[in-house]
Symmetry: C2
DNA sequence: TATTGTTATACTCTATAACTATA
DNA sequence: TATAGTTATAGAGTATAACAATA
């Protein structure tokens, strides 16, 4: 591919690169803050060889014992095929189980194992610690404010 | 692999799947809110065959004319190899140009073209509209509060 | 020898279509 | 025929190692 033949003599390398208009966008701030919290949580969960989505899955299964894979997919905002390898992992590690439905033999009910319940208790504390550490610039009242504002954004039906 | 032989007769399918403890985590709320804003922006930018990262790149180039690819990579929080195909696209579409540095012929200065500047003006308005639409559950004061809280989280050096 | 940009590669995440087994 | 789960596959996004040209 052709490259421009021009040359620049004013390639001043700024010490810090500014973001300009991006800093006024909530979407941009959300992305950067979310990345920071996600990376903190990933690092902490890596000791358990777990990903954030697997932690979320365990928490959702605990809250909704016996739910079907399609329900779990919807709750995690992923497609049903993605649930399969994830649930396989959790089942291999004996943290969750698929149980055939008596009435409809096509579907499974998903449950936590005893080990899954025990581990989840530990993971909840880790996630909570991670949350606080990554938002240490805020005090508790500000965390509550932030949580309420974010909840209203994502809970609103359409937008 | 062996599957459990058990069967469940209490596979009550809940109408809505609850998240339980996840709803108390800022990281979880951040992820869901960020996803919502991102998808709104992706949909709007698709009319221009652009991704959010490309819009961010254009905005950063405008704010830092002549910056090098390594600087752009750092600002976008991506690795230098990822900048190459992205910048190739922008150059193919004549929105940005790479200009060989006179003093150091290894590096390029990156600049917006006139067309890039014009398009960016339009994109800024689109991004701003997208931001407001996806956060329509909040009023302007709440948007300002949210932006300040988020900025403090991601601007804090370590955490 | 070190640095800028690049290539090649791989691993994850995500999305879609097609298959199976039940219904 | 329709549905639950699964398989296969392909496309993004992301990360690392290795290479070319230049310093």
């Amino acid at each position: 591919m052709a490259r421009p033949a021009r040359t620049a003599d004013t390639a001043s390398t700024p010490a810090a690169v500014g973001e300009g208009v991006l800093e006024e966008l909530i979407g941009y701030a959300l992305r950067r803050a979310q990345l920071k919290l996600f990376q903190n949580l990933i690092a902490r969960l890596s000791a358990y060889d777990l990903r954030p989505a697997q932690f979320s899955a365990l928490a959702i299964i605990e809250q909704n014992p016996g739910l079907m894979q399609a329900d779990l997919a919807r709750a995690l905002a992923i497609e049903p095929p993605q649930v399969v390898p994830m649930l396989n992992k959790l089942e291999e590690r004996a943290l969750a189980v698929r149980v055939r439905c008596k009435p409809d033999k096509r579907s499974y009910g998903i449950f936590l194992s005893k080990a899954g319940e025990t581990l989840l208790k530990e993971l909840k504390q880790i996630a909570s610690d991670s949350d606080r550490e990554a938002t240490s610039a805020l005090d508790d009242e500000e965390r509550g404010q932030l949580l309420r504002l974010l909840s209203r954004i994502y809970q609103e039906p359409r937008g």
